[in-house]
Amino acid sequence: MIKVLFFAQLRESLNCDELTINLSSDQAFQSVKTLEQLREQLAKTDENWQSSLANGKLLMAVNQTIVDGSQVLKDGDEVAFFPPVTGG
């Protein structure tokens, strides 16, 4: 099982805060090995997910550290997708 989190305008446009995926049993995700593959699979949900996740500026984190798409996912990971940050 991996947990997937969405924040800010991405969370709003998807209308989704959080989602749980079982990489070994959820059929659509069985071939997903890397973070980039997870993003591509999630983008297939519908046109809205497609366009929202296509944003090249989107940041991705695994276990609360920003990483790139080549990161290999493992059971128990906490994955997050979010737009560039604007705090401070």
Binding site: F7, P84, G88
Partner: protein, 158 residues
């Protein structure tokens, strides 16, 4: 106030934070450090082309603290610092409200200035906070700015 990093809804008290920076953990005064630099960021009335009435700060609980701790650690490895304090507020904020506090002490002013600016430049790019502003044209998410990316990148060259 013993924590170096706080992410909180409540306001902070600049005077108390300043005093804490000058006080050692045993209550004696920190007489090693001759320089104290502070930064406070506030909700200002005009941003990215519109008048701002207030904002809501969203964050990624857990990662925010981790990101801020990582930034402070990098600063401490780069400069000889005394005390470092970072506070970032979340939730609903009104015009002129305080958003963020960074305070740094050091023996020398240059280290205190540079470390404070470094922490803010990294926070602006790496700490998972997002601002949604209430403006004269309605609500909108603040856009990240290229100048903040450049401000961070210049530390790679120094």
């Amino acid at each position: 106030m013993d924590e170096m990093i706080s992410v909180q809804t409540q306001d902070f008290d600049m005077a108390a934070e300043y005093q804490a920076l000058l006080t050692n953990s045993d209550g004696t005064s920190n007489s090693n450090d001759g320089a104290v630099v502070t930064f406070v960021g506030l909700v200002r009335d005009y941003n990215q082309g519109n008048y701002v009435e207030g904002l809501t700060l969203e964050h990624y609980p857990g990662m925010t603290e981790k990101a801020l701790e990582g930034i402070v650690l990098q600063a401490k490895q780069r400069w000889p610092l005394g005390k470092v304090r970072v506070i970032h507020r979340i939730g609903k904020l009104a015009l002129s409200d305080q958003i963020v506090f960074v305070g740094v002490t050091s023996k020398h002013r240059e280290a205190a200035f540079e470390a404070t600016q470094f922490i803010m430049d990294y926070l602006k790019n790496d700490a998972p906070f997002w601002k949604k502003e209430v403006t004269n044209i309605g609500e909108r998410w603040v856009e990240a700015e290229d100048k903040d990316v450049k401000a961070q990148q210049r530390w790679d060259k120094l």
